[in-house]
Symmetry: C2
Subunit: 314 residues, 2 copies
Amino acid sequence: MLSGGRLPRRVRVVEVGPRDGLQNERAILSAGAKVAFIRRLAASGLPAIEAGAFVRPDRVPQMADSDEVFRALADLRGPVLSALVPNRRGMERALACGAREVAVFTAASEAFARRNINMSIADSLASFREVLSLARAHGCRVRAYVSTAWWCPYAGRIAPDAVLRVASALIEMGCYEVSLADTIGAATPGEVSALLERLGREMPAGGLAVHFHDTRGTALANVLASLLCGVATVDAAAGGLGGCPYAPGAAGNLATEDLLYMLHGLGIETGVDLEAVAVASRSLGDALGHPLPSRYLAAGPLRAGRAAGDAGAV
Amino acid sequence: MLSGGRLPRRVRVVEVGPRDGLQNERAILSAGAKVAFIRRLAASGLPAIEAGAFVRPDRVPQMADSDEVFRALADLRGPVLSALVPNRRGMERALACGAREVAVFTAASEAFARRNINMSIADSLASFREVLSLARAHGCRVRAYVSTAWWCPYAGRIAPDAVLRVASALIEMGCYEVSLADTIGAATPGEVSALLERLGREMPAGGLAVHFHDTRGTALANVLASLLCGVATVDAAAGGLGGCPYAPGAAGNLATEDLLYMLHGLGIETGVDLEAVAVASRSLGDALGHPLPSRYLAAGPLRAGRAAGDAGAV
């Protein structure tokens, strides 16, 4: 049941639209448009915004201007801005731009790690040690993403023990949080519970976050299962930015607006103004070339009062 | 938690696409197209299909050919076909076409009842007595919809006691099941649990079904909450047919494919072939004039194997 205090009182929403969202959009926004977008998101009260990625510009052109974006936001108060960094070189760029938090990324699936980052999981972990040394030296926090935490597009179902191994290693080397990602949006709530219960028994409380994709519509149900397992940090992208690279035309990231609507309805505090996030999403307007997938954006807020009806509306 | 046998082993999926779905679409399909669609849905193993409505054709032109549709499906084996009937006249038409099950509809909100069916709730209940007498005399089952079970577009939040009053009255007068509808897609899982727990204490087990709209993305999370409260009958519409008359352009019915994907992932039996439902939805093709909202339809089934990737996919 959902009563009896089994839900967290507060959830930290990590906004990944400007990085994970924009990285998976065909359109490439200018640095100026990105900065404006991030400023609007910051105005909503979002506590954490993933604002760029210091990766190879030839591989991820959408993120080629991350240095410029971070420098333009040097004055921003409010959210912690983070950047994805694959290695020490990316970390050095992030530090040069004043980033106070970075995120590294690996996978629970060996097959996915080899295809996505061209390394074994073990080699990726080894490469993060340099990032973590630099981070410690500069007072910068490091988060880690573990992709394919439930299903892999190459290897199929992933065993919870595989996730536990890599997640534990990341915490032990100094990452403050591990975000478990359902990369292809295939997980369902029972699998989510099973993994979180397994990890929860062996890892420090509060070290886990979840990152669901709505590719088959299960993201919010998976969030609910996660909340019931005590997870209190949830990633989402404004408007549901960022499609699924594994299923062209399909939905990708969970939409921040849809997440906030459910969390607030559950009585959970986030410190975020839902309508202000919607304003930020809508400001992207036609720049993306397609409507945003967020259900909330298509529907708008609840408005008691006159409304069109239909005979036999159920 | 989702382990420990707290979920039903089996869920009955009630397919409302051909009625609730098509009724809320702008396009009007021919009787032939409706019949073909229903035959494809039947082939998937769906146990119950709401195939039409015997309402005033001037008010609901999409359903004007329900008599013809039912007669054309007289030979269909497998699912029980039901029809929406507002009153005795509609019931007589349904019986003349061989319908074995009908559904009546009312609301938990007085304001909604008056605007939607031009009656008080009490008067609507009184009008159902004739329907139920006819049903008993002809061995026909009667289901009841209670719309605005959580939120009303005119009156705002609806008290659980209001729902209990009307739901109890419907069961007492002989309806075999009450489907609680989140008409404007505003409910969140805590509210869902609270209502179902209240009703569950006072009403016969197995008499409740849920009918969620995905207008703000909460439908599947609400289904999960319902399953945890012991509900084992869930309404959905193939492809997510039927927008929201209260929020133009917004999503309406929960998509049957998305529902089945989650139920099957939870290990719950339905007797329904998900891919066959998807085939039926896709067969509607361009007839509707817009893409169907189902997330699953946009993504397709899980396919382990070669897939396109992207550096830093999370």
